[in-house]
Amino acid sequence: MNRKEALSRVGLLLGGALVGSSIFLESGCKSNPKQVNDLFNQDQVNLFNEIAETILPATTTPGAKEAKVGEFMTVMVKDCYTKADQQIFLEGLIQIDEECKNATGNIFFDSNSQERTTFLAQLDTHQKAYMERKKPEQPSHYFRMMKEITLLGFFTSEVGATKALRYVAVPGKYDGCVPYKKGDRAWAT
């Protein structure tokens, strides 16, 4: 699928028509995915959860998937992104499969964990290089958006804030000098 086709498909998605994501078309393993809101369907949520989990995986603490970053993404992109950025983001969800296929031979969902990590690490290098050379008025790289929304969604989620970080809703006092040792988790807020 070239860029033009991708764009037209995104256009249809933005219009609310259900054509099916590239996962649906290419894996052919699902029936019509449920629409989550007028921008995203459940397949895209699942795909994003896998992307997010690769960015912030479960370790001794939960990862982005458990934090339901995929669902978070659907709300944030719909409500907080400009139309232009929504377009780039949606396009990115298609493009990421294209690029993954070129790199690993499989779409993202069908790649194994090692392939995903290698591929996204490379994509992260690309987005960084692009972000550094782009003009301020040019839009962000789609993977920069994905990474930012993953970090925001994870660290403001309940598992992210309370398990990966430390969170106290009502501190009750301020102490300007408490002991810290390497490895202690940061405050969530």
């Binding site: 990862g63 907080c80 992260d124 807020t189």
Partner: protein, 559 residues
């Protein structure tokens, strides 16, 4: 008419209106308190502030809908998903910007006292004498000694935390215990205070957050979510403090949804008789009468009412024989500073979220030794050191996650608040050809920073960098956010005090020169912006002083 008659009317419920209501009611006057917006019931209406980030739809962030409905308000630091209900919808509250001016408003009971920055600094004679010394604006008709007892009076009720420093340019007050500097701030302060001999000093911010219980309020719980409204009453606002005190007297009638159109004037009697309002819900017009009227509708709100109160006696607006109403608009020039990294204290961290920072009082043009050639007046800094968590880092996977779950290195920054001189041509007028949905002519704001403000910028940035470097901060970078007037939310000056009715609107008691039963004690009364933030405590002191005078005059039969 009988049911519509009171001893006093207060227009506005923000920081100065709340004080006017409290003082008038406590002195036994039956007082009608008018507010253009809806009621905000203390604690009950601070919805969502006890929610955790993951319970909010957008984890606190601004939506596209917000940006469309409130393109101006949503840019402000205090705006978030929870606090946004306290800011106006810009589309429904239009005004004209002849030059860019961000007018930040909260139309509800409590006004901006709910979302204010809470910094409280007394003005000194450096401020009160400045106009007389360099000839900009008119001389303040008061000096520090006139206001000092009234700062003494309001501060214990407000509940201001701060340290005693003995600085002539920043008088001490009646403070609750100060908040604590963190270890990096303590170290930087120690070095700065030792290094500089020209009077500059880094101290802890003075804030209306209660480090001890004040009556039944507080103490502060260090959530640092103040502008969402505090369920612990941990800081001072009209809703937590002055309005309940006024209500407790049984003398207050609070009327929300009351948009004051004009102050009515009786030419024969030579006095204001009352106010005409539009009910924002029913769109009906009502008239209310009183012996004393306090206008506390905010600087620009009060100015709009004055300009719209035209009569045979005052064709250019109530009490505007001087032609000064609407002129001399000031904000503060801010958003310039420096920041950098602090190496060390890796074994130290902080607990709790302190709702203030550090403060560096004015050190330029405070005496002969500190006189500057390039500019008049001066600036102050606020800032702080912080051991934050990186929001973004290179790479993905386990390493990224580990990196982002640990605090980063210490950083420290300071940012300036600088004086904006009173220029006659910086003004607001009414555009009678454009009306809002209540039929009120909209305000047209024509205000800018000029040469003196710009001339200060270079010194502000260099001095910030110099102080941080002397304080031990590394990789110091300076910046200038180039913010337009209004952004600082310290608009003042459009109905200024002064010695005579030819050049000013109010006398030294905040009483209109030409209408003796009308008092104005919000920001519009100010003769200069000063370079110290936190003007609200001065409005509060001026209000209590003006009410005391008004009631004394009333008893003498002079009003």
């Amino acid at each position: 008419m009988k049911n519509n008659t009171y001893d006093a009317i207060v227009v506005g419920t923000g920081i100065s209106g709340g004080w006017a209501a409290k003082e008038l009611c406590e002195k036994g006057l039956k007082t009608l308190v008018l507010e253009r917006g809806r009621n905000i019931e203390h604690v009950k209406d601070y919805t969502d502030t006890t929610k955790d980030p993951w319970e909010l739809d957008h984890c606190g962030r601004t939506t596209q809908e917000d940006r469309i409905n409130s393109p101006i308000q949503s840019k402000i630091y205090a705006w978030n998903e929870v606090s946004k209900k306290f800011f106006v919808n810009d589309l429904e509250n239009p005004y004209e910007q002849v030059k860019p001016f961000e007018w930040i408003r909260g139309n509800h009971v409590g006004g901006r006292s709910i979302m204010w920055g809470r910094q409280c600094y007394r003005r000194s004679d450096v401020d009160f004498e400045a106009n007389a010394k360099d000839g900009h604006g008119v001389d303040w008709p008061i000096r520090y000694k006139d206001l000092a007892p009234w700062y003494d009076y309001v501060e214990p009720f407000v509940g201001v935390s701060g340290s005693l420093e003995g600085l002539f340019q920043l008088p001490d007050g009646k403070f609750l215990p100060p908040m604590e500097m963190n270890c990096v701030e303590k170290e930087v302060a120690k070095r700065i205070n030792r290094k500089f001999t020209d009077g500059r000093k880094m101290i802890i911010g003075r804030t209306a957050n209660h480090t001890r219980q004040v009556g039944n309020r507080g103490p502060c719980q260090f959530r640092n979510k103040c502008h969402e409204g505090c369920p612990f009453s941990g800081y001072f606002c009209s809703n937590s403090a002055t309005l309940p005190a006024a209500a407790n007297t049984g003398n207050m009638t609070l009327r929300p949804f009351s948009i004051v159109q004009e102050v009515m004037y009786d030419k024969e009697k030579g006095r204001a008789t009352g106010v005409r309002i539009i009910d924002a819900e029913t769109l009906e017009t009502h008239e209310y009468y009183a012996t004393i009227i306090f206008l506390n509708a905010s600087t620009l709100g009060t100015t709009a009412i004055l300009l719209n109160s035209v009569s045979d006696a005052f064709p250019e607006g109530l009490g505007n024989g001087s032609g000064q109403v609407g002129h001399n608009l000031m904000d503060m020039h801010y958003g310039m500073g420096a920041s950098g990294d602090y190496d060390g204290f890796e074994d130290s961290y902080t607990y709790g979220r302190r709702p203030t920072g550090i403060f560096i009082p004015q050190f330029r043009n405070i005496n002969e030794q500190t006189k500057q050639k390039e500019y008049l007046r001066g600036f102050t800094y606020q800032g702080g050191a912080n051991r934050g968590r990186a929001g973004l880092a290179d790479g993905i996977g386990v390493q990224l996650k580990e990196q982002l779950t640990e605090p980063g290195n210490w950083t420290m920054g300071i940012m300036a608040w600088a004086e904006h001189l009173p220029y006659y041509e910086n003004k607001v007028t009414l555009n009678k050809n454009k009306k809002d949905k209540f039929g009120m002519p909209i305000l047209s704001i024509d205000c800018e920073f000029k040469e003196n403000e710009k001339a200060m910028t270079k010194d502000i940035m260099n001095s910030a960098a110099e102080m941080l470097e002397e304080g031990g901060v590394k990789n110091v970078k300076t910046y200038d956010n180039q913010l337009t007037p209004g952004f600082c939310i310290h608009e003042t000056g459009t109905a200024r005090m002064g010695h005579d009715l030819k050049t000013s609107v109010l006398n030294k008691w905040n009483q209109m020169h030409e209408v003796k039963n009308v008092f104005i004690t919000d920001g519009s009364a100010m003769c200069s912006s000063g370079c110290t933030p936190g003007p609200s405590i001065t409005y509060m002191a001026l209000t209590a002083r003006a009410v005391d005078y008004a009631v004394r005059e009333l008893k003498k039969g002079n009003i």
